[in-house]
């Protein structure tokens, strides 16, 4: 069973408007790399040029902020939920 990745509105232009897509990988970083293969262009919105998570992007693994786990190296297994959430609400 693949990993479920929840995609926020601003990134759905890469997923043909779909809000939840499958991906594979044993860590969050590998999941994001697989996501890039399936939806080219999404990676650079999430990671900076050093490959680190952008400051304004939060990623939750089964509801836990990966910055409080092992960041991009957090282990992921089949069936896990990965949520990408912009760190802001937008609007004013």
């Amino acid at each position: 069973m693949p990993i479920k990745v929840r995609v926020p509105t601003p990134l759905r232009r890469f997923t043909a408007g779909v809000d939840e897509v499958p991906a594979d990988g044993a860590s969050v970083r590998l999941v994001l790399e697989d996501l890039e293969r399936r939806h080219p262009g999404i990676r650079e919105r999430l990671l900076d040029d050093k490959g680190e998570l952008r400051r304004f992007v939060n990623i939750y693994l089964n509801g836990d902020d990966i910055r409080f786990l092992d960041s991009l190296n957090s282990k992921v297994k089949d069936g896990d939920d990965v949520s990408i959430v912009p760190a802001i609400a937008g609007g004013r």
């Binding site: 929840r6 995609v7 926020p8 509105t9 601003p10 990134l11 232009r13 809000d19 919105r45 999430l46 900076d48 952008r54 400051r55 304004f56 992007v57 939060n58 910055r67 949520s83 959430v85 912009p86 760190a87 802001i88 609400a89 937008g90 609007g91 004013r92």
Partner: protein, 344 residues
């Protein structure tokens, strides 16, 4: 021994009487009968240290510090005006609740104004809005309804519409995105203040865009007194961004009050450069602001570096104390380490 503080970079003012006038704008200090009377008349601050040696001698940059409003942001102006107009035309009357979708500063402003005039306020916002702002809103007695953080600000707008549709007679929706009273507030206050505070010398007005009320209204006023003034809007460089309060127009529900043809130019700013500018403003100017001010400063500097003479005015929508728990500060330790080590 007494310490003398000198603003050395302002030596130009000593030689140039017109420039010296800029130093002496008096901001009235009011004794107020209501907190609403304290909205506006915010000071402007010349940005000097962080641009020293990088601008042509005839170029100056000023930032209008909207954090001095009683609710802590530029949004006090629009909130007061939209509610005034609602009361005047009868769309807001006793028994109604003020409702709107907002990620924070407008919510704070509406909650404050509602408290000051005795009307209940209900706000819809995405759950990932900053914790401080939610608490401030609740302290003013307003109710918060949360929308899905995955849906960004558009999700809050849609949920708010749904709540109103369920009970249409109960609510007054100021609707900051589509209510011209939002930009009229800036036409009537922000614009004239900038004109007075610069003694009519402003040549470029640069403001970050969320609803676009500030840049539309103040821009319209400034062009009405001097059509040569350049009005420049600032927006995030991508749909996926971290500039809370700002909208990437191309990928958002475009506000009804936004009229792009009234802008002379738009500048796109990346989240990273805006965050770094927030750190720089604190460190080098002693001004702790939010990320929208960082974005505005980046754009104002770009404009200032492109001209040989002029007075660039930008808006710092709020101070930074509401963002201390947010992602804005994740990069600060690394930034500070590099600064201390003298790395670029």
């Amino acid at each position: 021994m007494a310490t003398t503080f000198q603003s050395s970079p302002r030596s130009r003012a000593d030689a140039d009487p017109a420039a010296r006038d800029l130093e002496h704008e008096v901001v009235p200090v009011a004794r107020a009968a209501s907190v609403l009377e304290l909205i506006g008349n915010t000071p402007i601050l010349e940005i000097t240290r962080l641009v020293r040696g990088t601008l042509a001698p005839g170029v100056r940059i000023f930032a209008k510090l909207e954090g001095f409003n009683p609710g802590g942001s530029v949004k006090d102006r629009a909130a007061r005006k939209m509610i005034e107009v609602g009361l005047a035309d009868g769309s807001l009357r006793p028994g109604k609740t003020i409702i709107d979708s907002t990620s924070g500063n407008t919510g704070i402003a509406l909650a404050m104004v509602g408290a000051a005039i005795g009307y209940p306020v209900e706000l819809v916002m995405a759950e990932n809005a900053s914790r401080e702002r939610k608490k401030i809103i609740q302290a003013f007695g307003a109710k918060i309804t949360f929308s899905d953080p995955m849906e960004s600000s558009d999700g809050a707008i849609l949920l708010c519409r749904k709540l109103i549709a369920q009970n249409p007679g109960n609510y007054f929706k100021p609707d900051q995105y589509n209510n011209e009273a939002n930009s009229i507030a800036h036409f009537e206050t922000t614009g004239p203040e900038i004109w007075r505070q610069t003694r009519g010398q402003v040549t470029h007005f640069v403001a970050a865009m969320g609803t676009s009320g500030t840049v539309m209204g103040a821009g319209r006023f400034l062009k009405s007194v001097n059509p040569g003034i350049q009005v420049i809007g600032v927006e995030p460089d991508d749909a996926m961004h971290g500039l809370e309060g700002l909208k990437h127009m191309a990928s958002s529900i475009v506000p009804g009050i936004y009229h792009e043809n009234q802008l002379d130019a738009k500048i796109a700013v990346s989240t990273e450069e805006a965050y770094d500018m927030v750190y720089t403003l604190g460190h080098d100017e002693g001004v702790l602001v939010g990320q929208s001010s960082g974005a505005a400063m980046i754009a104002a500097i770009k404009v200032a570096r492109s001209i040989r003479e002029g007075c660039v005015v930008t808006i710092f929508p709020d101070f930074g104390d509401k963002y201390l728990s947010t992602n804005l500060w994740i990069g600060w330790p690394e930034w500070h380490r590099k600064r201390s080590a003298g790395e670029p």
